[in-house]
Amino acid sequence: MMNIKNIELLLNKYWEAETSIEEENTLSVYFNSGNVDPGLDYAKVYFVIPDVSNEAIPDFTASIMSKLVDKYFDAETTIEEEAIIQQYFAQSTVANSLGQYKQYFSLLERQKNVTFNKELSLPSTLKVVHKSGTKSYNFVWLKAVAAVFFVAVGGYWIMNNQAKPIEEKQMANANYIEVEDPELALKYTMEALALVSKKYKKGEEQLLEGMKTMNEANVLQ
């Protein structure tokens, strides 16, 4: 057991930076021994190297990623930032706090790679010759032609009949009279002709009057 006095002397030397490596080792052994005089406890921190092996190192990546993810869901990330997020979640393990997002981002990544692998083909000919030698029409083509035909005809028909609804409205308008009774038709025709005759007569009268005035004017001259 080392004398406390000796240790105090060595410490003073140590503060003066005059100790040799051996003396420092002695100090180190003493303070690490676990049996340190309470009066010298203050110097312990200088010689005892803390054991950090069990302490958790704060996960800086996780906190950065968490901020980026928040930004991502606010739709404020740049393309570069999104690439970083993608890269991070592509790892097999992510921080627990971010575990909930892993599924989402890995799904996105998977969807990116989805391709349609099935082979599509339209039969290239209208007529099909079977192996047995019989011929038949290719119904895929017939259907396609029929579909185009009906769409074309239908479209044209609709375009030409857009006035139809208006005609139906006319029926609703009590003032639209399509005469269906010959007697009534005759009546309307006569009335119409009466107006024609009345106005025509007036026109002729005015014409005659005009000519008369002109004649009088000529006479005066």
């Binding site: 032609v145 035909f149 074309a152 005809v153 044209y156 028909w157 030409n160 009949n161 006035a163 208006i166 409205k169 006319q170 308008n173 003032n175 639209y176 009279i177 399509e178 005469v179 269906e180 010959p182 007697e183 038709a185 005759l186 009546k187 309307y188 025709t189 006569m190 009335e191 119409a192 002709l193 009466a194 107006l195 024609v196 005759s197 009345k198 106005k199 025509y200 007569k201 007036k202 026109g203 002729e204 005015q206």
Partner: protein
């Protein structure tokens, strides 16, 4: 297959012909929906039947117009009491007046009257009567093979009794 396509194309183009409207028809149909207007339409089919009636009728007035009615193939009347001058001016603007010949222009007690015809010589295909005054706007369209001489004669034959009938029509 080719035949079917040919027929289909032919059908498509012929339907186009039916949808053709003359400017007059368009003008009429643009007012047909308005509650302010009275529109009367007598079809060619109806005039065939009217011609039959006129042949059998002993009424003096009917006898007078018999010859004329025979030649009419269609009649349309458009009438309103609301803003007559406005519609008169609108009609004068919208109707293809330059396609017609002005037969007569009359000013009758504040009424502006225009007779317009389409066709050549004394036989016209269409006679338009346009009346616009303080109280009434009337547009009449007679189509057929109308003899202007007959109309001129009619003017002297028909008395004004008929015009009163027209007033009743307007009051409906």
């Amino acid at each position: 297959m080719k035949k079917i396509i040919t027929i289909a194309i032919a059908a498509i183009f012929t339907t186009g012909l039916f949808s053709q409207n003359s400017a007059i028809d368009k003008f009429f149909s643009s007012y047909e929906n308005s509650a302010d207007f009275t529109v009367v339409y007598v079809s060619p089919k109806m005039f065939e039947m009217v011609a039959k009636i006129t042949n059998d009728s002993k009424d003096k007035d009917v006898q007078n117009i018999k010859e004329l009615v025979k030649d009419i193939k269609g009649l349309k009347i458009l009438n309103t009491k609301k803003d007559p001058m406005k519609y008169y001016n609108e009609a004068a603007k919208k109707l293809p007046i330059n396609e017609y010949e002005v037969l007569l222009t009359v000013k009758d007690k504040g009424d502006n009257v225009k007779f317009l015809t389409k066709g050549s010589g004394d036989i016209v295909n269409e006679l338009l009567l346009l009346v616009g005054g303080a109280d009434d706007f009337v547009l009449m369209s007679f189509v057929g093979n109308l003899d202007l001489n007959k109309i001129s004669k009619l003017a002297t034959k028909l008395d004004l009794e008929g015009a009163e009938h027209l007033d009743k029509l307007k009051n409906k």
